[in-house]
Symmetry: C2
Amino acid sequence: MSYPETLTVLGVDPGTASTGYGVVASRGGGLSVVSGGVIRTAPEEPLERRLGGIFAIVADLLDRHEPQAVAIEDIFFGRNVRTAFAVGQARGVVLGAAGLRQIPCFTYTPQAIKLSVCGSGQAPKDQVQRMVASLLGLRQPPEPDHAADALAVAICHLHNAAARLGAPA
Amino acid sequence: MSYPETLTVLGVDPGTASTGYGVVASRGGGLSVVSGGVIRTAPEEPLERRLGGIFAIVADLLDRHEPQAVAIEDIFFGRNVRTAFAVGQARGVVLGAAGLRQIPCFTYTPQAIKLSVCGSGQAPKDQVQRMVASLLGLRQPPEPDHAADALAVAICHLHNAAARLGAPA
């Protein structure tokens, strides 16, 4: 696998309660983690404060690390309208924060991410996490899940950056 | 109907393509329009730019008019997951902009808005628009629809402000 010379990507797994993020940089042919973690919001807080908090932290990540792209996992909601609406709200503030800074956003399906990271669109979750750790030179799989998912979608975008296979958000 | 002495409310009807807004103030027992219109975004623009644009304009309205509350119409999506996701994204940036400024948000169902403005939860759209015009002292019903809907939800919140009947966002 050859990576773009220098490219920094913010991967995001958006959700109102917990938004995973991972900043991954490709430099000199390898990948490394710049920052990663989870933005947690308190369920007893009003929704607007929770979304404002997610916006503020994503905006800070964008200003601090200046990624050239944001990569977001696209979830399939089935018929769950309520979940789609809730995730949509969290995704909206992430996209809005990026759009204000003119940073392009790309989305990838879970299958595309698994295929890109593991070579199989059906790879189980623990295999994806081990491969993420291996590709990023981490001693153990990243935790929690949301942070690992965010790192995975960032890696997926770096893998696809040359071919530009990501769909626009 | 007696209104709160002085209260300014931003009503919003969120959508990616077109977000209606209306700033309504109650002063001295009457209502007046401070600002109203529609934020339109170009369909050829990337989604993140469109959402960033909505965020920027809502943020500007909040900073300029300093409303004490934001009121949003709550839509029933039925089984339309795609629409729920899209509207959720636009709603997210509106809520996020308010939450960052610690301005509380309230939502009202279409039935609650019609009941509050017209006295009947089943009032037809043109009747709502005529009542909005009458309550705000406008010569003719506000246009376009999204702006009228935003003014209606702002009026609904002002009617309910004393009783605090609005649901948290």
